[in-house]
Symmetry: C2
Subunit: 356 residues, 2 copies
DNA sequence: TATCGATATGATATCGATTTCATAATTTGA
DNA sequence: TCAAATTATGAAATCGATATCATATCGATA
């Protein structure tokens, strides 16, 4: 490895003091153009490059932000939603010349330790927490030591004094349920994710809200969760199909899960979308490429990531700014996974609705 | 933000010298147990936590590794292959207590600048380059300044003195082409990615090798590329179908592209797998969830990432170690996107095939 | 010409840790 | 019991940069 040339080496060769070199680096107006030129020339000759660690130590600022996420959750590496978030964050960081530092832990405990290390070890200036979760200890920790952070998702508590970027998930979920109802579906199932996450609850309540407003009854049997370690898509599908009156439409809170459910349904011989309409969430690339292409709620994950990074950086530069929160609008993007429900002739006369 | 407590504060309160505290932190055997206990107690009371930047400055080691990737390539954020790589890297880093630093640039130029910043600015101890590309300037730069790095993919040059982790891509590609031929396909197309990448070339030559060995003729018209900014899946499919004798099987060098092609084919009314057999690469989650589920070459991307990080860390700890390279085996995972090709009666009677 | 005010640069302390060298305290051996 | 060897700790330099304060130089003004 090549030997580093420091500010002192430059200073010596250029016959100036280290402080002068430092000023040249920051292009201070207090140094004459003549000296600047000379010093810069020497820097070139010597191949000088600034060592960040030295600067970090005195400036107490790393110009890097930490990303906290959990493996094995919706917010995790193998979900394209995560990638989009990351891409948005990365993009914003690049704009502002910030760097990204990633947690690598697998368990709650190890993630917590890593966050402490990032924060106390002063490795990052601020943190973006990619989830909002009820029994989480990272956020309370950050709050306690008053460390700058932004979360993606609605905080479980302290909503007014924490910065967050989120969608209006209950509204989004309500709209998409309305959409299914508008298509004539009456028996609609809900397949959520891990209910420890705030986003899961919001989407569930949006779903319920829609049913209520539209005068449909809530069937507990239609409410399912896909949760790693507990219920997978196959189980959920099985349970749903075993019901005497299986749903004809499904609101599934994540594209990835939607895909899994679609495959499980087809394994059971259900034709899509004919026998089951499905809407997903996030509008990831899998929604575009699935078969049938998935109608989904675009949560604009790139924007979510982008805004969170922008806000955090703004907060870092203006520590006293008001802790605003940002709501990114959602859009239903219609593709081919939903069809108008065909009225069945059957027992009672629910059949005799007017055709549309 | 809370005020930091430093080693000096601890020293003062515990009535010892800063050097003693430092020794307690590193659990030096030269400090008596009694003193250690006392100092540790004070550290607890004061809520002391080590500041990494101070340590980094003297130890000249950051315990973090940089990841270099390009947005908008196979190796990019929106491809699940990338996520798997990242997961593998992250996992290995966590094991060894290393941290991850991510590049955020979009253009070749900005990525190059970021790498220089990482390297010269001493922000990372080593880097993993997630691609191997012909006209790349990052790798030559790293080589020139003798900075530790590992690449994923086969180096364009200097193969023997650079560490890399790769699959045997020509072999893998040959095998999977053999597989298609073994299924009775004679007219096989190849859909590659950006041909600037080494991996694309290797897979193409494996493909050609297979044809040659199996005594099939190479049809130039069957060789296509999906390349952002140039040809997309729709174009490729259109071109392929316009041929007087379209292929009956397709080797596509990435699952993601396979999916796109599959959708494009279906848009053209081609039934899958009946009218076109397809194999992909990487065995990402989209292969599992696609319809039909995709037969694909498992490149074991998690392992690829994992091994690259392990190797790099090993290199960092033993700078003089031999620059070994690691080849991760590939496995064809058969799913439902390929079927045995039904032998056609010659042109004239090809309609009179037996129904199946 | 003496003084003041810019302007340009240097000397030095500092950020928070580690490490080398020195020294004090304790134990060992003769 | 005293020198030698060991053990435990402290003082100070250091990593590479920045920032504060001091000083030298120069031109302008009275």
């Amino acid at each position: 490895m090549h030997v580093s040339v420091t500010i002192k080496d430059v200073a010596k060769k250029a016959n100036v003091a280290p402080s002068t070199v430092s000023r040249v680096i920051s292009d201070s107006p207090r140094i004459s153009e003549k000296t600047k030129r000379r010093v810069r020339k020497v820097m070139d000759e010597l191949g000088y490059h600034l060592n960040y660690n030295g600067r970090v130590l005195v400036s107490q600022s790393t110009q890097t932000i930490g990303i906290v996420t959990k493996v094995a959750s919706v917010h995790s590496f193998d979900n394209p939603f995560f990638s989009e978030l990351l891409r948005g964050i990365s993009d914003a960081c690049h704009e502002k010349d910030y760097s990204i530092y990633l947690t690598t832990g697998n368990t709650e405990e190890s993630i917590y330790r890593e966050v402490v290390k990032m924060v106390q070890g002063k490795r990052v200036d601020g943190v973006i927490v990619l989830y909002s979760r009820e029994d989480d200890n990272v956020v309370p920790y950050l709050r306690e030591c008053n460390f700058p952070f932004v979360m993606i998702g609605k905080p479980v508590s302290h909503t007014s004094d924490t910065m967050f970027v989120d969608n209006d998930n209950v509204q989004a979920s309500k709209e998409v349920t309305d959409y299914l109802i508008g298509l004539g579906h009456q028996k609609i199932g809900f397949v959520g994710g891990d209910s420890h996450y705030e986003v899961a609850r919001d989407r569930l309540s949006g779903f319920k809200l829609s049913l209520r407003e539209q005068g449909l009854e809530l069937t507990e049997d239609y409410l399912k969760n896909i949760q790693s370690g507990k219920a997978d898509a196959e189980t959920v599908v099985e349970e749903l199909l075993q019901l005497t009156e299986p749903p004809t439409g499904l609101v599934i809170t994540d594209d990835y899960n939607s895909m899994k459910v679609m495959r499980a349904l087809e394994d059971k011989g259900i034709r899509l979308p004919d026998e089951m309409s499905i809407v997903g969430f996030n509008n990831t690339m899998i929604a575009r490429l699935s078969k049938p292409p998935l109608t989904t709620v675009d949560t604009q994950s790139f924007q979510l990531g982008h805004e969170s990074a922008r806000s955090l950086i703004e907060l870092l530069n203006h520590p006293d700014m008001v802790k605003k929160s940002i709501i990114i609008p959602t859009i239903i993007v219609e593709r081919e996974s939903c069809i108008r429900h065909k009225v069945e002739k059957s027992e009672s006369e629910q059949d005799y609705q007017a055709p549309h």
